[in-house]
Each structure stands twice: as structure tokens, then as C-alpha cells.
Amino acid sequence: MAKIGVFTCWCGENIARHVDCDAVSNAVAKLPGVHCSLNYKYMCSEPGQNMIAEKIKELGLTGVVVASCSPHMHLKTFRKTAENAGLNPYLVEMANIREQCSWVHSDREIATAKAIELIGMAVEKVRRNHALEPIKVPVTKRALVIGAGVAGIQAALDVAAGGVEVVVVEKEPSVGGKMAGLSETFPTLDCSQCILTPRMVEVGQHPNIKLMTYCEVEKVDGYVGNFKVTIRKKARYVDITKCTGCGACWNACPMKGKIDNAFDFNLGFGHDKKLGKRSAIYVPFPQAVPARPTVDAENCLRLKSMKNGKELCGVCQKQCAANAINFHDQDELIEIEVGAIVVATGYQLYSIGKEQENPNIQGYAEYGYGKYKDVVDSLQFERIISASGPTGGEPLRPSDGRVPEKIVFIQCVGSRDNAKGITYCSKICCMYTAKHTMLYKHKVHDGEAHVFYMDIRSGGKKYDEFVRRAIEQDGAIYHRGRVSKIEEQTVDGVKKLMVYGADTLSGKPVVVEADMVVLACAMTPTTGAPQLAQKLSVGYDEYGFLSESHPKLRPVETNAAGVFVCGACQGPKDIPETVAQASAAAGKVLIMLSQPNLTREPEIARVDERLCASCGACVKACPFQAITKEEIRDRNGNLVKTTSRVNPGLCMGCGTCVAVCPSKSVDLIGFTDDQIYAQVESLAD
């Protein structure tokens, strides 16, 4: 015999204004099975919750209906109340008489009648509820961090410091990401490498961290707490356990000084062709972790000749005292098991003039990037002024190696430009452009730094002061306006870039005869981010930035349980924000992995295996790949039948399978068809 308690909330004035709560209480008290019916000003307050708890204990209620706001708001609150009072929390239902009644109706009589019906439906449902126990899923106490830029490094170090094993996968031969190549960082102008390299070394040496460089995530199976990740270990042709990093190989390589270095963003200099170039067996930069070389198969003479069945060159192998070079190395697939995944794949710059991957985005052919050697993007400029860059920090322009007397910096190249397809602000360009002008002026005291900007966005601690310093102390010349065109002209035998722009504050066109142009282009997610997101079942936006679960309250979680995001793969951000978010993600991982088991809501689908005809409709329809076909065999191993089966660790309780099952042999526990039909039928009287 059901003993149901109905507790109607006024929500202050929110419900009571349009719903007569006394009338509701009296009406629902007469419903079959309802044992007590009370109302109160704030059910979620302590006295309100106490009222529910007392009635549960006093009357021995078998079910509770709280008629108040949306279950999204307070279902957890009231379930906790019931649990503390000794009632299984899943015997509590809510009737939403606020969002779905008092807020949308103004006629008191009609709203009151509707509230009674909504409660009547909840009473019918709770009468058919069963006591449920949360599902416990075992957890693999190991985390995977994808990407080893500053975000991945921070996340890995924090998780490792919490005593949990971490596997770090990085697609490049070294950790460090974009930050390792930056010059100095705003707003303090400390050297990027000086602050990052200790962390890189720590990641390489930490006992809890397994570093997998030159590797990529191939496949992700499993579910929260129990992911099975297949990692492709790309052929490096160097056994890094044998190699000592002595450098004999890359110094002997006949391709030395001939190959563009991706770490220097393929910079080349007209006056010294070897500047910024590397060999075919190379370490991308001196502080690389691991400090072990990689053979670039596209440019290595030996590997190229092997394709034609010959064995040319091989100088590096002869030089190698450790016998670490193996030209027959192959890609390897390695499977690891982890409980949580942090995605920190970072960003790249929007490719200004070149073909765009995303058909909705267009380039800026008018700026001549790629055509004029002295038009560079901001990351290339970082390398030019970096003390560890190809020029050793001397600001030389690529075409002829002259020190530029005048540099034009253009902001918002791509960003905030609806016409070109990117609507968002890349957030960091205002700051680094100010930094660029300063660093240039510190090196070339009589040089001129012109900046074309749309707005200066310098929100952040000591950020606006930094921009003011660039303008007021270092004398950067800021023009508020856009640049329409850049043309190369030869003036007195020297190549100059004529920059045609506008200054909208003075209302005049501006033409600057520059030696060099730096484009602050939009930040976009790294190539392959959407493909990775698909492997992880994580959402992403039209640009490929990964979607967090809630923009304010769940900023590092994703809608795929157990997968977290941090850094620029989630949206443009600077180093301090990236580091903060990485630590936040690490905290979430540690919270998750600190439990012996994961607790999941028991409201999931269950197949009636006696009736399932195994047509496979649910297997195909399940958006979480939670349903598989299984064979039922007798004790002698004879096949009895095949059936669909739900993996309780993966099921999110969406109910898609219930909708597609033709014989309704699958049902959603806690939302059974029986309950829902009873709810609907309660309206039919």
C-alpha cells in the first residue's frame, strides 16, 4: 500500500502568486495513495526540508512528491533529504509547478487546476518507482594528457603531484608546444623559455609521468574510468633509450642547414641561407625534452633512397657511437588503459593567405603574406626576436637580413572579421602586439613601431598598464584603423613595404613605408582537433574549439564523462589563463580518480534479454556506443540466443534505444514506459 507524501512549495511568491497552494494541497490529498499533503513557503529551506524528513519518519512514507521548481534545480536537494530520513532517494519525484505552471500562466484558476494535474502525474509515477542503488564502476587510476604544451605540461605535473600516474602524448618530437618558441611574455617580459624549460624537464623526469613524444591518439574505446586508448608511436628512426643526444649525427648530416624548421615556423633569411635551417636528423630546439633527435623521413637521403631499394648516405648511423639509429623503424600501436583524459591540444595561427581548411573562412591575399618575405605572422616574429631564435634575438628581416627601421604591426588579422569568417576575438593579440613593439624598440632604439588596431582589449591584471607603457614610454605609434593593402616597392635600392591604412581617429588615410610587417592573426584550434573530438565524443564549435560542459559552472568538463579540456583547444586564451585552466582540469581528474569506484546514476536503460529479438536497432541508435550484441549460451556452450545488452558504465540514460526498439524490449529504469503511460493516463479522467 502506497503512502505518498506531497509537499507543495510556494517558492515565496513565485508559485503562490498564480497557484492557490492551499487548494492544491487539499485537492491532491484526495488522490489515491496520498497519505499527507502539505504546503510551505520555501520547501528547499531548512524548515521545509525538515518538514519532509519528519513526515517520512513519522508516517513511514513510501514515496515523496515535491511540487516546486524544475528537477534540474532541486531534485538532488530533496533526494538527499529523503536519504537522510531513511527513504531511498529514488522514491522522490518532483512536479514542476513553477517553470511549467506559475511562470507561464496568469489565470489563477487555470494555473491551480494545472498544478493539481501535474502533481497527480507525479503521484502516479512515484507510485511505480522502485528503490534504486547508484551504479559503481571501477576506476583505472591513470590519466592521459593529450598535448604537451604549457597546458598539458601543467595538467600532467599537477595530476602527477597528486600521486596519480600520467601518460602524456605529444605529436611533436619534443614537449613545450608553442610557448617554448616564444620570446618574452607579457606583462612581465620574462623569458618564455626560462619559465617553461624547468617544467619541461620536470615532465621528462617525473616518476609518475610517462612521456610519449612523437605519438598520436589513434583510437579511444571504453568509458569514464575505464578508457582504452590506442596510441600511434610514429617511427622516429632513433632509439631514444640508447641515444645520448651527443649531436654527432645532426652535425654530420649532409642535409644540415638545408631544411625548413617547423619550430621556427619555416623562417628563412635571404642573407644567410643556412639561418634557421636544420638537418634531416634533428632536435627541433636545443632545450627539447627529450633531447633526442628524430629523423625527418621526407628529407632523409637514406630513407628516400630505401624507397627505391637503395641504401645511400647513412652518415649519421656511421657517426652514432650508441648505435641508436634504426632506418627500419616502423610505426607502432600501443594500447593503454586510463581513467580520465585531459585534452590540451592547443592552437595554431589562422593561415592568412593560404588555402583554408575550413571553407567558411577566407584569407587576406591583400596583405601579401607568403608573397612578400618581410610580411610575417606573429609567431614567426616571436622567433625573430627570441634570444634562442635563428638570429639569436637580433631583429633581422627575412628578405635581406637588414635591421628594420620601421615595422608595421596589424592586429585583428582574421579575428573579429565577419567578412572573412571568424567572428571571435583572439584575445591575446592586443597584448602580444604591445609586447612586440616594446621588444623591437628595446633593440632598435630609433626604430618606429606602428600598430593598426580596431580596439585595444587589455583586460587583466597589469595588462592595460603594459599597453600604456608600450605607447607612452616606448613610443609605439598606434593608429586606430584597418589596413587595406600592402605593396612592395624598391626605394633607393632597398625593398620597402607600402602599407596603406586609415586612422579613423584623425579621419585621414595613412601610408607607412615599412621595412617589415607583422600580422597578428587569429588563433584557431590545431589541425585535427575536430577529428580528435570525434574520437572522444566531445562536442566542438564551428571553428573546431572543443565545447566545455557549461561555460560558467563546468568550464573544464566536457559532455563526455571523464574527458576534460584545458588551454587554447577550448578557446583563445593567454598563458596565465591556460595554466589556471590546466590546474583546474588536473584538480577535476584527481577528484575523479580519488574514489575507489565511480558512482553513476542508476537511471539507465536495461534490456529484457528474454524478449529481445536482437535486431540491432538500439545498437546502431545508441549515441554513446553503450549497447552491444551479446550471445547467451547454456552451460555446455551451446548458443541459446543473441541479445542486446547495455553497458551500465557507458549508458547516459537518454532513452533513444527505448524509442527505436520495435518490441519495447528495452526500458529506462526510473522512467519506464509503465510509469510514463500511467502519468499520461492520469490526465485522461
Partner: protein
């Protein structure tokens, strides 16, 4: 051709390639053609092949009592062969473990109330372009003749026969159409012969037989009849091969095939999907492709 068929089946049984052959035979009242299950090679003469072989024998493949007989061979017409493909695609049969004997079918004749052949072809045969069964292991009959017949029907395949009937129905206003189905469904006695004759209605327990909750009225009320017949059509969307077994089995003479044809046409027009055409094809419902049309979303 009948002899060819018998010889082929005899060989399969003698060589123990199969344990049972499901074919047509004169088993009904007055020699009406129905299903026979031959397990002994000496009895293959019970098998017949003629223009009265109306049934779709594929319905027997998923029956547990037939499965208990062992590995089957089955005689199929072009339309029936597609049902076998759907059964295989949906995991109901192991295609490797069934010998499908296709026949070249020149068309099946209708029958009058007493079961005597009328001499006129069934509606579905007028638009048939699969006179030779596809995706079969053995084909009996003249494939060249089948190709000729296919070519003759091809120009009218989307307009003649049942398609013409459907087109005429779709010409009517929604109210008239509703009235048409109201009249038709009011005759339904809920005998579920449509379900029993359908090779693709293989659920262990049909949703119509479940009563917690009762999703469909179990008695023959107009509301329940609407719910049943429309639900069944939806369950066959993207799956029905148009064999017409349901319409043929209906004692009330309701042209259920019209409902199925509407959905089959939609599957073809919207997604280029023809049920049972290809072994291994993913099911239409529950499969998403990036280039799926979305015009119907408004």
C-alpha cells in the same frame, strides 16, 4: 523449371548440404499452394513452382521450430529474396548457413475468393524489375528471359500497379484519405495475420501483445486499429520489401501494402535507400550520414 528446381533441391538434400528445404507445394484445401518442408530427398516431387506461389517463404526462416530442423535451403522469388537480405542484415539469420535458391519468376497471379487463380498478375508483379532473384546461391530458370521482363517493366516501375493506386490515393485531400483509412481500419478484426505473414515481423513478443503498459488497445476498436496498423507500418519503414504478404493475408481485404509503399517511396526518394537490395547494408532508421537530406526538418 519445376524439374530443375526439384533436382537442385534433391542434390542439396542428398549431399547433406542442407537439412531441410523450404519450398512451395500443393498443401492447401483443393490443392492450394503453400509452404512445404522437405527433409527427405525422395520427397522432392512435393515441390512445385508455378504462378500461384504467392507466399513469401522467408517468414519461416526466423521461426524457432523451423530453425530446429537444421540448416535450411529456401526457395525465393525476387521480392522474397530481398526479405532474406534484410533478415541477414538484421542478424536474424546467418546468411552463410542458409542456401538461398532463387527462381526466375514471370509474375504471380491473383486468386479469387475460392483460391482459384484469376489469370491476371498481382499489382506488385506489374512493377517488378527483379524477375530473377538477387543475392542468391543458386538461380533456377532463364536469366535472359528475366532481364527481358525487367526491361519491359522498368519504364512503368514507379507509376503502374500499386504505385498507381497509391498515386490515386495521394491525389485525394487529407480528409478524404483519413476517411479512406477510417473505413478500411474499421473492418480490421485484429487477427494479426498481417504480422504472422510478414517475414520481418520477427519480434519474440510483439508490442501489441504487451500489457504493462498497454500501448495498443488489444480489442478491435477503431482507435486501437489505427494505432496497430500505423505502428506496424512505422516499424517496417526502411525495412519492408513490398512482398505484399500482409495485404494477401488480410481477411478484411485491407490494402496494408499502400502504407508500406508510402514509406518505402519516402526512403527511396529521401535517402536513395531500397530495403534488401544489398547484403551488409546499414539499416535506414538509426543510421546517420552527413549528406542525409534534412529538408523535412522545418
Amino acid at each position: 523449371m519445376e524439374n530443375q528446381l526439384r533436382n537442385a533441391i534433391r542434390k542439396l538434400l542428398e549431399e547433406k548440404t542442407v537439412d531441410v528445404a523450404i519450398g512451395y507445394g500443393r498443401v492447401g484445401v483443393g490443392g492450394a499452394v503453400g509452404a512445404v518442408f522437405v527433409t527427405d530427398p525422395s520427397e522432392v516431387d512435393r515441390l512445385v513452382w508455378n504462378a500461384e506461389c504467392r507466399q513469401n517463404l522467408a517468414v519461416h526462416l526466423s521461426r524457432p521450430e523451423v530453425k530446429a530442423l537444421g540448416k535450411p535451403a529456401i526457395v525465393v522469388k525476387g521480392c522474397d529474396a530481398r526479405a532474406v537480405v534484410v533478415l541477414a542484415n538484421e542478424g536474424q539469420i546467418d546468411r552463410e548457413n542458409v542456401v538461398v535458391v532463387g527462381v526466375v519468376c514471370e509474375g504471380i497471379q491473383g486468386a479469387d475468393a475460392s483460391g482459384v487463380a484469376t489469370g491476371t498478375l498481382l499489382d506488385k508483379c506489374v512493377t517488378c524489375v527483379e524477375h530473377a532473384a538477387q543475392n542468391v546461391d543458386i538461380l533456377i530458370g532463364d536469366a535472359a528471359k528475366a532481364a527481358e521482363l525487367d526491361a519491359a517493366n522498368a519504364p512503368n516501375a514507379k507509376t503502374a500497379g500499386k504505385q498507381a493506386k497509391l498515386a490515386a490515393l495521394l491525389q485525394k485531400t487529407p480528409e478524404e484519405r483519413f476517411q479512406y483509412w477510417r473505413d478500411e481500419f474499421s473492418r480490421c478484426v485484429r487477427c494479426h495475420a498481417c504480422r504472422q505473414s510478414c517475414p520481418l515481423c520477427y519480434c519474440n513478443r510483439c508490442v501489441a501483445d504487451k500489457n504493462r503498459p498497454t500501448r495498443i488497445d488489444t480489442s478491435a476498436t477503431l482507435k486501437g486499429n489505427f494505432a496497430w496498423n500505423i505502428l506496424r507500418a512505422f516499424h517496417l519503414a526502411g525495412r519492408c520489401v513490398g512482398c505484399g504478404a500482409c495485404s494477401a493475408a488480410c481477411p478484411a481485404g485491407i490494402d496494408l501494402d499502400l502504407l508500406n509503399l508510402t514509406l518505402a517511396n519516402a526512403a527511396d526518394e529521401q535517402f536513395g535507400y531500397v530495403a534488401g537490395k544489398e547484403l551488409g547494408a546499414a539499416p535506414l532508421i538509426g543510421t546517420y550520414a552527413e549528406n542525409d537530406k534534412e529538408e523535412f526538418i522545418r
